[in-house]
């Protein structure tokens, strides 16, 4: 019996091996001839991958960014350049559900598209990192529109870029704002998320540099809802403000609960935070009184204030009636355009057939390194690590239960 099993297994393996050997006839030649030109009107079709949470996790951000990418692709397909070069783009979407475990899965799915020229994505930093490994190995450009974790651009992956500002900028901006408001001592709380820890680190570095004092340092855990003892500690220490690095939602970072309990526990110092708390959820959960006076920094700015914001909003509204453009949509739009512009450049240089080859993809990465165009968020160009040179951060303040953009905008 056993020998029979062995035989079957051995036969299978031999079969599979034969398959593989027949297949490997010279490797590179086959690969380069492989991307069969899709015969739609003789046009060369290129896929732009989109990665983000589409069904679970931060669905709102993911769906919005997807729409922005689709808009960019549509505009590109209608452009003169596309007509001249006989190129057509399409969007391939991949749903990462904000789940790091699924990151390699969906990234692999995108990489398997033969005509892939670049990926717009992902949203969550924790997803962007493992997915980025796959793109890096495949030599495909990746431009994130929402991953703000500072070290992502410092992992030795030269195919990685992002259009949004990093926490490394957001944290110092928040520190500077707090300093400018006359605060001198801080309590630092993070929510034990990747985002929160990155933000609080960047903040602390700048804050110490400015000469600020740190009185309390704490990390809350996901799923916790009672912060009474921490509030007691903060009250005992009496800082000028409480810096909360985390998200506002009770099911994740619980920033709203924290703000409410600060007020309930008799702490008068205001709360300062990053973009994680800059949403309506935070105000809902903190309650109007709890949220009042909270300050938050946020990468980017209200779209209507952006250089090309009005035109973008108009086009967005026309393409997706009834859908309001969200905070990260403009970044996704610019990310998609960076790839599209680079593809035009490479196609003009080497010919459309060469774009979706390893060499072509390499050329796209080089092109994006040197790109410079006017995007919705302003002039788009990247530094040596892949961070946007034109990182915008806006400060917001809760007034009468609503987030109001603070007048000063820090570059």
């Amino acid at each position: 019996m056993k020998s029979k099993l062995r035989f079957i297994v051995a036969a299978m393996l031999t079969l599979a091996l034969c398959f593989a050997l027949v297949a490997c006839n010279g490797g590179d030649d086959t690969t380069s001839s492989a991307p069969a030109d899709a015969p739609t009107d003789g046009k060369t079709t290129f896929a732009i991958g989109f990665g983000g949470p589409l069904t679970q996790g931060s669905v709102g951000f993911g769906q919005g960014a997807l729409r922005a990418t689709q808009l960019a692709v549509k505009q590109a397909n209608e452009s003169d350049q596309a007509r001249d070069l006989n190129i057509e783009f399409r969007v391939v979407e991949a749903d990462d559900q904000s789940d790091p475990t699924r990151a390699p899965v969906v990234a692999n799915a995108l990489v398997s598209e033969r005509d892939l020229v670049g990926v717009v994505g992902h949203f969550n930093s924790a997803v962007t990192e493992p997915a980025g490994l796959v793109y890096n190995e495949a030599g495909v450009i990746q431009i994130s529109y929402g991953s703000t974790r500072p070290d992502l651009t410092h992992m030795g992956r030269d195919n990685f870029f992002r259009t949004c500002a990093t926490d490394a900028l957001q944290g110092p901006t928040a520190a500077q704002s707090a300093w400018d408001l006359g605060f001198r001592s801080a309590a630092l709380i993070d929510d034990s998320s990747t985002y929160g820890q990155g933000l609080v680190e960047a903040f602390t570095t700048k804050w110490i540099e400015l000469g600020g004092e740190v009185l309390v340092e704490e990390s809350t855990q996901q799923g916790q809802s009672d912060f009474g003892p921490v509030v007691t500690r903060i009250r005992a220490a009496g800082p000028d403000f409480v810096f909360f690095a985390g998200t506002g939602d009770a099911t994740t970072g619980a920033g709203g609960l924290f703000a409410r309990q600060l007020k309930d526990g008799g702490v008068e110092a205001p709360m300062v935070g990053g973009d994680g708390i800059q949403d309506q959820v935070f105000i809902d959960e903190a309650g109007a009184t709890g949220a009042e006076g909270t300050i938050a920094t946020k990468p980017g700015m209200p779209i209507e204030d952006m250089p090309e914001g009005a035109a973008f909003l108009q086009a967005y509204e026309a393409e997706f009636p009834g859908e309001a453009a969200g905070g990260f949509d403009a970044f996704a739009f610019d990310a998609a355009n960076a790839i599209i512009n680079a593809v035009f450049e490479v196609a003009a240089d080497k010919g459309a057939a060469e774009v979706a080859t390893p060499a072509g993809r390499r050329a796209i990465i080089e092109a994006v390194h040197n790109i410079n165009f006017n995007g919705v968020t302003g002039p788009v160009s990247f530094d040596e690590f892949g961070d946007n040179n034109n990182a915008i951060i806006t400060t917001f303040l809760v007034q009468d239960g609503e987030w109001i953009a603070h007048p000063e905008i820090h570059p």
Partner: protein, 426 residues
């Protein structure tokens, strides 16, 4: 006088029993010569089924990858990982009858151990050999997890079933939170491992396979060894090894001591089973596969962070074992395919074949999965406690069948044949 009398009585009754026994259902089903059963070996029919399954499993990724159904292929990788986890848990729950609600603890330990071991080992082996680091890392992380399992088994030895459940649950949470808090800067907190700048070594032959194996047929079919394909085969291989090893351990003296312990701890120990040792081995071997799964997961993903190691995922692994059938390897396989595969299948179908609105349906199904899973667990316990494919009793082909019938001399022969007792008066 009396003795002699009763002696013949006994012989007669034994003959009776023998006659009765020949007609029994068990005889015709299992014990007879017509259909011999072997412990630890499969019948020809089953063998053919396994062979067929193997063919399908080996060819499936080539078809899926070639046709571009990549997401579906990737789902199989996740299913494989969870089955590996469930196999380990099956040792603890199914064989040894103990509860473990903290499966993710070992998964996490294995994944982190793999990350920590891989980079120095790869450096040690040098550029050319570093691709062969993975097998060593796999075994190494299994051993690390097994050691953690051993440490956990020390204090919980005396605990009863439900207390054990809650302690393992607590242990799972402790491991996750501790990893998150980055003790002694080992785990790098939420950023996870490897640290930025470090790169994991490639697994064996992957680089070569990826560059050299290409299969093209017409316009539609285009196959290369992508990460998903590679890990599909790698996890399949680990899974096959795991199944063989676990089966062998179950069909051994150790496996019998687990079963005895599961059935009746007091009787087992009175029959000379060292229950402490059996429990420790169950924890250690169960943890080993948890750790090995963790290492595969870490290498597949390329990095690990604390997020996936939640209580909910421990419950999903538990559900795979319970719904599939505790103590039954086919049950665990089926459970894994159903619980991990079904929602993925529906999501894939919804996304790819239902057009624009498909995404929402996929998400709803994923949410519904946990709801249905819970309901399924409740119903399963009420209707079919032993799972979809229940554990089967181990049947043996008898060596000495018919050697001593109910003949007159049976007693003498039996006395001769019986292993000589150490004790007793001479």
């Amino acid at each position: 006088m009396t003795k002699k009398n009763t002696s013949t009585n006994t012989t007669a009754s034994m003959e009776d029993a023998a006659v009765k026994g020949k007609g029994s259902a068990a005889e015709t089903l299992f014990g007879g010569k017509a259909k011999p059963m072997f412990t630890g070996k499969l019948s020809p029919v089953k063998m053919a089924l396994v062979g067929l399954l193997m063919v399908v499993l080996l060819l499936l990724p080539i078809y899926l990858q070639g046709m571009g159904e990549v997401l579906l292929l990737a789902s199989f990788v996740l299913i494989g990982l969870y089955i590996l986890l469930a196999l380990g848990l099956n040792i603890i729950i199914g064989y040894a009858g103990m509860l473990d609600f903290g499966r993710m603890a070992f998964y996490a330990v294995g994944a982190y151990a793999a990350m920590i071991l891989a980079i120095p080992l790869a450096n040690l082996m040098g550029d050319n050999l570093s691709q062969f680091a993975f097998p060593f890392v796999l075994i190494g992380s299994g051993i690390v997890a097994a050691f953690v399992g051993y440490l956990l088994s020390l204090p919980v030895m005396r605990l009863r079933g439900d207390y054990l459940a809650i302690v393992t649950l607590g242990f799972g949470e402790i491991v996750r939170i501790t990893i998150q808090n980055n003790p002694f800067n080992i785990t790098n907190g939420l950023l996870g491992l490897p640290r930025s700048g470090d790169v994991l070594p490639w697994p064996p032959f992957f680089e070569w396979l990826r560059e050299n194996v290409v299969l093209v047929m017409g316009n539609e079919f285009y196959f290369t060894v992508t990460r998903n394909v590679y890990w599909y085969y790698m996890i399949l291989l680990v899974l096959i090894i795991a199944i063989i090893v676990v089966r062998r351990q179950d069909n051994s003296r150790l496996g019998r001591s687990w079963a005895a312990m599961r059935e009746d701890e007091v009787a087992a120990t009175a029959m000379g089973v060292n229950v402490t040792k059996a429990k420790t081995w169950a924890f250690v071997l169960g943890a080993f596969w948890g750790g090995a799964a963790g290492a595969c997961f870490g290498f597949f993903q390329g990095s690990v962070s604390p997020e996936p190691f939640t209580f909910l995922n421990s419950v999903i692994v538990l559900a795979i074992v319970v719904i599939g059938g505790m103590g039954s390897i086919p049950g665990v396989l089926l459970g894994g395919v159903i619980i991990m595969g079904f929602p993925e299948l529906v999501r894939w179908f919804a996304m790819n074949h239902l057009g624009g609105g498909g995404g929402d349906i996929g998400g709803q199904v994923a949410n519904m999965r946990n709801l249905l899973l819970g309901l399924f667990m409740v119903i399963m316990m009420a209707v079919r406690t032993e799972g979809i494919i229940p554990m089967k009793p181990k049947l043996h082909k008898l060596y000495g069948k018919g050697k001593f019938g109910g003949t007159d001399g049976a007693a003498d022969k039996a006395a001769e044949a019986a292993p000589s007792s150490k004790g007793g008066a001479n």
